[in-house]
Amino acid sequence: MAARVVDLTKVYGTGMAEVRALDGVTLDIGAGEFTAVMGPSGSGKSTLMHCCAALDTPTAGEVYLGDTEIGGLDDKRLTRLRRERIGFVFQSFNLIPTLTAEENILLPLSIAGRRPDREWYDTVIDTVSLRDRLRHRPNQLSGGQQQRVAVARALVSRPAIVFADEPTGNLDSRSGAEVLALLRRSVAEFGQTIVMVSHDPVAAGYTDRVVFLADGRLAGELREPTREAVLERMAAQEAGR
């Protein structure tokens, strides 16, 4: 088990303005699995991911990363947890503009004062096929390349789990496919655990498992999803509302 949330609830605002972004979600994330979280806009996908990734604190419920319950941790420990056990890929603005691709990739390690494992680093660089772009700055890279750098950065510290929030949301379909294939490969070849938030049925097709969210609640899941199966499920959900 890579991560686990129990009865997770997140409420924004109070009174009239109260929004239950998550409402009692219980979910296990299997180690070495590529999990997609899907659902319509506003269903709580990002909130779920933020809570799992120690970026946000839930209103109620528990979040376990491995065996650690992150509820009681202070900012210092949370930061360390993110630094050592979590990798991130965001939808956009993933890279520090002043640093080269290579520096960006190595940043989490050097912040933590850790030395990169040369062999692993080479493997990652080859996997994301960026060897000839390492000295470039983000503004000299295409959107797809930037996302691949972000994936490399997420992988290079060998985190227990990588969270990706709509990593292909800003990309054209070809670059998107490249990034998804890359994520898929890192699961298949390195046994990396990945949780990806997406509303794109195509993206779901690359994963092992799709979890559906609706109005902050779990609304079923699919194993070994195909694009068609996901589309069907989403259509059914629309109809059921």
């Binding site: 970026l55 002043t98 640093l99 520096e103 912040i111």
Partner: protein, 845 residues
């Protein structure tokens, strides 16, 4: 469009506040200075209106020698004649001295430095226009040699009561007077003395104390009969006046005195306005930076306006409108603060003895006019460049993700900046070394231009340092260091402009510190080289003192010789010159004079020794005669020698001065101790002998040097305090820049935090960037200051300041201080960066 600008202003209150602060301070200085100056003027004009009669009669020459007391007088018979002039109601003879100081009951001299101690005869002569002059209003008029009346403010400050024995130090025949206080005087029609003290005696006593007991007066007032104008009366008086005397209308005499005094203290105004200027220049850097950043942040929004059809002009105008509002608010606050500042300056001057509490603050129309003018112009000019650049944002930028502000190339900045520096340095050199009118303006404008040029070029020139800092940071602080170093390199204009604001303050501090240290070293060297005496007796407040002191001193056992030094001012070919009178007989014992031409043998009577510098400048030769305008009239002094000492440009004999009509007041006494005697013992004995005269100080050579250095230290300290303000503004600039940068980089900070940068590392990152900016500013400032300081001292070499000493320790301290400044300035922005909510930061636009 204006509406949008208005909204944007309100949305950025805090950021604008910081840049407004600079305007507030600058305007406060301008406003405060003007208010203070107007108040000063009014109060002195009021004083002098009270201190003249309808017509003033005085000896010719008395008006020329202002600053130096003369022996010229108006005989009593002349005064009696004046009373008979047609149109005259009465004529009164006045006795007046300006060196009679009141010692308070705490044994300290009243008024301290600067305020005159006035002694007069008690007559009830009405001042001009029928105003009642200073009169005894409590107790009774003084009678005989043992009674005195004092003005009310002095009695209060000295804590004396009627019937007390009062101690007065006189520069007349007798040094110490101890009369009984029998009356308290005041202006029945209102008026103030601005901190001066007045002691009144009956006429005979005043004459015996200050005019050698003859029936003569310092001047006379003639009072007009009702209906007779000052001018008519003056003309009547002029008809009967014997040769050697002149008559002035009271209005003219008051004007003359007031304008002389105001001219003498006009340096205060200039001094304060210079600092207002510095604050504003430093502040304008802040404004340029703030507006550049605000425009950059709003570029998307501005592009959208353009896309929606706004013209370039409209965009520029909307930014300038913001600047206008900022300038308006800043000027208003500054004006308010200026009033407080004026009160502060007044209090400061009161502590130096210039008490203006008798006059309310004067708020003339030019004060708000100058305040708003300066505040608005500086803000708008500073905002103009960013505003113009904002109009260059293409409308398409609204649709793009990453908006880059259009920037002019750094090469052009380097070129323009270097040119400005060269022109500035050239102008400064002309002012310092060439013989041009208004040298101060040349130097000031040159220095300003050089500093602005440096600032303009600095985005390019600072790169090597920043790259070096980034490398050092990488070595020492790892990836946090890399990030900080990269951030400081990211926007060279911004970093450099922020550093430049600091540079200006540090340039001036460094220059001052070199000038101060060098001047002190020069003083030490001059004293060490030329002063052979063992003991110096002088007046703590820099005024002349009674010749009786010298007689007392020479009677002390162990004293071999006493040499009097007397100072006098006189015009030579229309220019005011400063003469030093000495006794030629004992001079060689106490002063080492190397003559480069002539000899001391002929140095008696109406002769003069001129300094090498004066001789070279004016082309004087031994044997030549110089005609000085002494109080008694033009006097020829023959040049008998040219000396190389650095202290007295015109060294003449005591005889020449007293025959010329100068009062026999000593300025200092140089003592030689008997060979066998112990200097410390002699000094102790002398101190005992002058114990009742607290303004007379006895010093050995070391203490004397320290005393001479003290005013330099005081001046430098005062300038530091004022420059401190410029530094505060610059530090605010750093805070502002970093604060805005943190806001700009919110998403980046969020990302860094998400991938594991902890709060401490975050703070360190911001602090390191801040330190890089501060040290850059310090290096530029210290570098420029070194050049300025050395050039300044080189130009003063001729003025007797021969030593140039660079205070390296101070410079290192400044550099270290800049690190501390950087750390302090980073505190708030760093905290803000560290506290940012990770999620919100990532999601921020």
């Amino acid at each position: 469009m204006l509406r949008a600008a208005w909204k944007s202003l309100l949305g950025r209150k805090l950021r604008l506040f910081m840049s407004t602060f600079a305007i507030v301070l600058g305007v406060a200085f301008v406003g405060g200075t003007l208010i203070f100056t107007d108040t000063l003027n009014k109060s002195f004009v009021a004083i002098f209106d009270n201190s003249v009669g309808d017509v003033v009669v005085r000896p010719v020459g008395a008006g020329d020698a202002d600053g130096t007391a003369t022996t010229l007088t108006v005989p009593g018979e002349v005064v009696d004649e004046l009373a008979k002039v047609p149109g005259a109601a009465r004529a009164d003879g006045n006795v007046a001295t300006f060196s009679l100081f009141v010692i308070g009951s705490n044994n300290r001299v009243l008024g301290g430095q600067g305020a005159p101690g006035i002694g007069v005869n008690d007559n009830d002569a009405p001042a001009a226009h029928g105003i009642k002059g200073l009169q005894v209003v409590k107790g009774r008029d003084p009678r005989g040699k043992d009674e005195v009346a004092l003005d009310a403010a002095t009695v209060r400050r000295a804590k004396y009561h009627l019937g007390d024995t009062v101690r007065l130090v006189s520069a007349g025949r007798r040094a110490l007077l101890q009369p009984k206080l029998v009356g308290i005087a005041d202006y029945p029609d209102g008026g103030s003395l601005n901190g001066a003290t007045v002691s009144m005696f009956d006429t005979a006593t005043a004459q015996s104390l200050f005019l050698d007991g003859k029936d003569v007066f310092t001047n006379a007032w003639v009072t007009a009969k009702p209906g007779v104008s000052q001018q008519d009366l003056r003309d009547q008086v002029a008809k009967v006046l014997p040769k050697g005397f002149e008559a002035l209308t009271g209005d003219k005499a008051a004007d003359e005195s007031a304008s002389q005094l105001l001219k003498a203290i006009s340096f205060i105004t200039i001094f304060l306005l210079v600092f207002a200027g510095i604050a504003l220049v430093v502040g304008s850097f802040l404004i340029v930076n703030t507006f550049s950043m605000l425009v950059a942040q709003r570029s998307r929004e501005l592009a959208l306006f353009r896309a929606l059809g706004a013209s370039r002009k409209q965009v520029t105008r909307s930014v300038l409108f913001e600047a206008f509002v900022v300038g308006l608010v800043g000027s208003s606050l500054g004006l308010g603060l200026g009033v407080l500042l004026a009160i502060g300056i007044r209090a400061l001057f009161a502590s130096f003895g210039l008490d203006l509490s008798g006059t309310g603050l004067v708020f003339g129309w030019r004060t708000p006019a100058a305040a708003y003018g300066v505040g608005l112009v500086v803000t708008m000019v500073a905002a103009y460049l960013p505003a113009r650049r904002s109009s260059l944002i293409p409308p398409i930028a609204a649709l793009r993700d990453d908006v880059a502000m259009p920037e002019s190339s750094l090469h052009r900045r380097l070129l323009v900046g270097t040119l400005m520096m060269l022109v500035g340095v050239a102008a400064g050199a002309v002012g310092l070394f060439a013989d041009v009118p208004k040298q101060g303006y040349w130097v000031g404008a040159g220095a300003l231009l050089a500093m602005l040029g440096m600032a303009a070029a600095s985005p390019a020139t600072s790169r090597p340092f920043l790259v070096f800092a980034a490398t050092a940071y990488r070595r020492v602080f790892g990836s946090i260091g890399v990030l900080a170093g990269q951030n400081s390199l990211r926007n060279p204009r911004r970093t450099a402009a922020t550093a430049s604001a600091l540079m200006i303050g540090l340039t001036l501090v460094t220059t001052m510190s070199i000038a101060g240290t060098s001047a002190k070293a020069s003083v030490d060297r001059t004293i060490e080289r030329t002063f052979l005496g063992d003991i110096v007796i002088s007046n703590a407040i820099g005024q002349g003192f009674s010749p009786e002191i010298a007689e007392t001193a020479s009677r002390q056992p162990g004293v071999e010789s006493v040499t009097r030094l007397r100072y006098a001012e006189a015009k030579l070919k229309g220019d005011r010159k400063f003469l030093t009178g000495v006794d030629p007989a004992t001079l060689p014992q106490v002063i080492r004079l190397q003559l480069t031409a002539g000899s001391l043998t002929g140095f008696t009577g109406n002769t003069v020794l001129v300094s090498k510098k004066v001789a070279a400048d004016e082309g004087y030769k031994v044997g030549q005669e110089l005609t000085f305008r002494f109080p008694k009239g033009p006097t020829k002094l023959r040049i008998v020698g040219i000396h190389d000492a650095e202290f007295a440009n015109y060294l003449t004999t005591l005889d020449a001065l007293s025959q010329g009509g100068y009062k026999p007041e000593d300025s200092s006494l140089l003592l030689k101790v008997d060979r066998g005697a112990n200097t410390a013992d002699v000094k102790a004995a002398l101190e005992k002998a002058t114990e009742k005269l607290p303004i007379i100080t006895v010093k050995d050579q070391r203490e004397y040097a320290a005393e001479q250095r003290a005013p330099i230290d005081r001046l430098v300290l005062m300038i530091y305090a004022l420059l401190g303000l410029a530094l505060v503004i610059a530090v605010l600039g750093v805070v502002n820049t970093l604060g805005l940068s943190v806001i700009e980089r919110t998403r980046e900070i969020g990302l860094l935090r998400a991938i594991g940068v902890d709060r401490r590392q975050m703070r360190r990152m911001v602090s390191l960037e801040s330190v890089a900016i501060a040290v850059l500013g310090a290096l530029m400032g210290i570098g420029m200051g070194l050049v300025f300081g050395v050039a300044l001292m080189a130009s003063l070499r001729d003025e007797g300041l021969e030593v140039t000493r660079i205070p390296w320790v101070n410079l290192v301290v400044y550099l270290l201080a800049s690190v501390v400044i950087g750390l302090l300035a980073a505190r708030l922005p760093a905290r803000r960066a560290a506290r940012l909510d990770v999620l919100e930061a990532i999601g921020a636009e």
